[in-house]
Symmetry: D2
Subunit: 408 residues, 4 copies
């Protein structure tokens, strides 16, 4: 741990899947990295007193509250970490920024472009006062992903021709899987598209350094009606994020989000791209896979084998060309000097530790972390273009400019 006495007091809103992942990262980050400030797990917030008290104890937070406005109003909180479903991101983040708190907000930034625009504007205003904000696209900090970006930035791939990105899961293939909040548009904004599609949009734009300019899309809801979660008396009831709950088969409700979204896209550097996000890809558990082909080389990444990067270097002698499986566990690889010897792999949660590392460093040294809210707005604009294209028979749909005075 650093010798600094500087402390960043974190207040986290939400304690489900993302809350647990963030807690593990806040707890670990100063134990492995030498940073200019120490994170203090000061306060956790959730609506249910019993559950949040239990979460505070289990996850190791100093205190808890059931009112996020209380969390934001306290003087002894420096950072607000927003881990709630997307429908409350905007309200909480706007309030936090207004209160001068640094904000780390989970992805997708918001459920609508309008909210994302407002949040980006607020972040810009707050920046002038030294307040930092960041959106939690944690996969940017998987070492192999960071390395991909470096290879592209160093020109090792040449002119990028193709991007091929899928994020495939299969947790709702069973039609009896219940209607959890992630399947409700008013809570989640969209389905596979915003939940996992957002990751591959951000990741590919990050790695290539290019923006998606237009899309042609198709979305689908394969199972249109599902049982309400057990214990739920209706859609108004609280629907938790648990995937294991058995449905209440007697009462069903409509699925209001996409099960899958596929689209072709063009990037502003000339590349052609395909994207697919689905929760119906049987056998694929967390299959975020990206391949990028350039005039001088290619890279392939698979989140289920996140310690590996395949790199094809077309400038090598032709008889020796091949995809090299690089084990991204050397001390020289991004973020890895703090961890274990080569070949001792890291896991999913480490991407959050790396994210907290960069966030703490940025806040403590007074620079802006990335991805900014503006970067996340760009992702939101792509999601919006996908949705609109799907609504108009897949017609080519331009991604709206982030800064233009467009009514949304």
């Amino acid at each position: 741990m650093s010798t600094t006495d500087k402390e960043l007091r974190v207040g986290m809103v939400g304690y489900a899947f993302m809350g647990a992942a963030h807690s593990q990262a806040w707890r670990t980050v100063n134990r492995v990295y030498d940073l200019p400030a120490r994170a203090r797990m000061a306060l956790i917030c959730g609506r249910d007193t019993g559950k949040v008290a239990d979460a505070a104890d289990r996850l190791g937070w100093d205190a808890y509250t059931t009112d996020w406005r209380d969390l934001i109003s306290r003087d002894d909180i420096d950072v607000v970490d927003v881990c709630t479903p997307g429908d409350s991101h905007a309200e909480i983040a706007l309030a936090a920024l207004a209160a001068g708190k640094h904000v780390l907000c989970e992805k997708p930034l918001a459920n609508t472009v309008a909210e994302a625009r407002a949040m980006t504007a607020a972040a810009d205003t707050a920046r002038a006062a030294g307040v930092r904000s960041m959106c939690g696209f944690n996969y940017r900090r998987v070492p192999a992903v960071t390395m991909m970006r470096q290879l592209v930035a160093d020109g090792r791939l040449g002119v990028i021709r193709h991007v091929r990105a899928t994020y495939l899961q299969d947790w709702i293939v069973d039609p009896q899987f219940p209607l959890v909040w992630r399947l409700q548009k008013d809570r989640a904004g969209s389905g596979a598209l915003g939940d996992i599609g957002a990751h591959i949009i951000d990741l590919t734009q990050f790695v290539t350094g290019q923006r998606i300019t237009g899309v042609s899309a198709v979305t689908e809801t394969f199972v249109k009606e599902r049982p309400l979660p057990a214990g739920s008396s209706g859609l108004a009831a609280s629907v938790d994020g648990s995937g294991s709950a058995d449905g209440n088969a007697a009462v069903t409700g409509p699925v209001t989000v996409d099960d899958a979204a596929v689209f072709v896209a063009r990037l502003d550097g000339g590349a052609l791209a395909t994207y697919e996000a689905s929760r119906f890809a049987t056998g694929r558990k967390n299959a975020l896979r990206v391949e990028i082909n350039g005039s001088l080389g290619s890279v392939v990444f698979d989140l289920e084998r996140l310690n590996e990067l395949e790199f094809y270097d077309a400038t090598r002698p032709s008889v020796e060309q091949g995809f090299s499986r690089i084990l991204v566990t050397e001390g020289e690889h991004p973020y890895m000097s703090a961890w274990w010897p080569p070949g001792h792999i890291i896991g999913y949660e480490h991407s959050f530790t790396h994210q907290m590392r960069d966030f703490i460093e940025a806040v403590a040294t007074g620079v802006d972390p990335a991805p900014s809210f503006a970067d996340a707005l760009q992702v939101q604009l792509v999601l919006d273009a996908v949705t609109r294209s799907a609504e108009i028979g897949s017609s080519w749909t331009e991604v709206q400019p982030a800064l233009a005075a467009v009514a949304v």
Copy 2:
């Protein structure tokens, strides 16, 4: 070899890549399979006397001719095997059918829907007279592909939700690669789309037993001008299929076909599909890859590892579920009883031997082989829909019905 004395005398038109592959198959098929007729490599046809004479000697044909009309008019030819570029398929095949010859025609069936319709009509007419016709989508006869179809047909995948198909190559990434005939629309019809995209269209329709009903597509020509092939004085000159010829940098011509084509599609059974064909995927040599996800299971195939099939059976105990790498080399696997012991792999050319096996058997026993010209027309209609969608801003484009009285 079978004890039969029945002989099928084959006349083959063309002697380049496909001609060599077909020759290897005709030479081998009766040596490994016990069939009701023996193929005789009777006559080979090419325009250049010296080259075709050499090909006849090298590839083992009894005789040669430089005039395909001569080949068709001969009484001692039973089968016409069309291995020319797509622009001559229709003319040759129509003449052969009219002359009562059984026809095996390379894919894509034709360069236009109109030609393919005419060929299909002619095949239907000829069928009444006992004349057989088949289109050479050889990958259907890769044992792992045949096995995929059987798994789907047996209901092992349940309801199919996703089809994900790519056919990626990289042989023209270098902008100095010359303007060979495959890059000229008047000869090849289209570029990656018709050459390799046609394969994945046929293969996925074959495996799923479903038809593509509509598409939204984007195509691209990354390198728009290329040097003419060495020795060529212009586009009128003969441009052979060799990929190794150095271009004549001093004189260039326009590339008139697509370098890459990507599209999303819907199948008539409800599946969502993505397709990508490219000759610019650096590092991918012959990467025909197909993944199909159903409600009960998934399959994955990769032509570069064509002896393997990955099968995910979601009906197994959940803790044991995983993609099984099946080595499709057992005697019980399709076509494999004739070859080597388990684990002794076969290669690309064997798909042609299997194709000839089924063709000979069908002709000798008086049944229709598959894929028929009608099946190939369906592929042509999809190619046509892709082209049209790309021309109108990727808008959703229905695949025309094969049998309707539509003006084309």
Copy 3:
């Protein structure tokens, strides 16, 4: 975290690689598992005051000491965690057991069979007084490894015929890599054999439930002289475990341990086995790979892809048999319910968290954890047989019985 108030106060000796890994596990274990006691990171011990103070701060221990005897004598320590090089294991563990402390001792248990016997005897004596002991073969707790054992125990592999185990690294291929303590027999006991060979001996005995009965071995030291570590004035100086230190080329010393050890073995259930441990396998970073073939099936494990298990079930229909790549990340898989959703992988360090989980549970509920010191002694006896066989021209060498009245 559990609702228990029971606390286990841990004192850890050592703070290098293993100390860091153990700290991460002690810090995390009660955050993810609900256990009957909470671990308290009470005291850390190291010889250098400045370094141990820094380690205490960085790794999050309440206090530090430079005298391990002090650590053992304190009343407020319940558990002694031994993370030092092997030459001090026996002395520390014996003292700790004598003082009534529960002991977790890193592997290999000791540098000699005599020490391991003494430790095992002491552990047996202490057990009668309710004192628990365990050896840190952490890889037993990789979920895929635990699952392998369950498959074998459930009879899914039938009669085991073959064990094939390698543990390959490459960190000393460079002859200029310095003479760190792991390359000195008096500190490390042996080289690749005891350091990583011990892991595959334990792991395969654990998974198969069988013991190695005899071996025929060859060992080799490829680079016999190496530069002393920088800052070292001789072998008497402290040689830390860092692999990155540049050697002091001007002064060299003899490598007194094996660089690689290979041996064939027989297991008491009739299986034939091969083992290989090497630090000279260029390109292999942490390649612990085990394959087990039985009459009904096979399993394959690779530590560099530790979230995966390949399982071949020979009782399935023959055309569908294949190695299934099981992603061992389902909630039903061993240890995994506490972590992330399926497909969100874990890393190397999690094996330690799982180890601490089982150790805490065993101590808190008064049962003996495994592997016991007796289990670790069995590994030591195999290491001893390997060493002896290598010394007598690879002649077949029986593994000594653990319990016999043999003079050692």
Copy 4:
């Protein structure tokens, strides 16, 4: 086909598995390679008139005979291709060489060292008269294997430290599999050891350019009694090579060969090696796998994916080091210019075509082909050392010198 009129008239003895593979190669070789002579499939020999007549017809040989002495005595035969079980290799090959025929003899060269020595001596004598001989270790001609040898020869691996070779099959795991000739010592010489172990001994010596100097070995026969093949009235009866025949459970006989053989070895260049050959590795069909680690790099080969070679180049920048999966299908790769475009894979049988190519070229141009009988004798001497070591409790056993005046 070449323009040459020179013809090599081949007489082949045997028509089972190897006979079929050789026939396919003789039939193909001049169709794809331009060579200084043409092979003519002149005469095939087998003991059973009906079966050999059928084989001649099916495999495409001009004529047949039931007496190998007749085959050898004929003036119109230039080459004798010996594809019989090992117990008749010596007699046939010696007679053929004495008659001035060029000889291609399947591996292993013989069933005993004495026979192999006699054959080597005869080959040396015949060489003086311009008669060529070669042993059929066909895997040397898998392009990826040839490439491995080139990489080693070019110094790309540096000093070789480790060789790790396995050849695993599973076709006799079922104890009801019958007692075919390959399981009888008097016919086959040995079991897995000579049949498939011989391949990895030859292949690794070929690739490394080093010889095995000594071994320590264990062999095992897991199933000691098996049913006689159906239709067999006793061991004296003809036991064919078919693996699919059901046994005659009522009558059993003893298995007189090894089911598995494992050994450690040293090579004369200083490398440590492990070898394993087994027919009891459930799930492994034809798993010849070789890994070689050198001071500068490593290579990995797997016969079930014979078109691929993994190459690790430790001289590359450390962050980019990784095993490159090279698709050995480029025109510049060994033997591949004659086949298909990149990525269009070849199969098992092609190794024989490449072997015939080099054999024809050597014979036609008057040079000695490799591997010579002397090379094959060296393999036999290793097999012999393995057998002897296994008989004397795995004690280290030197491989006898090939040329010494040792009584055997």
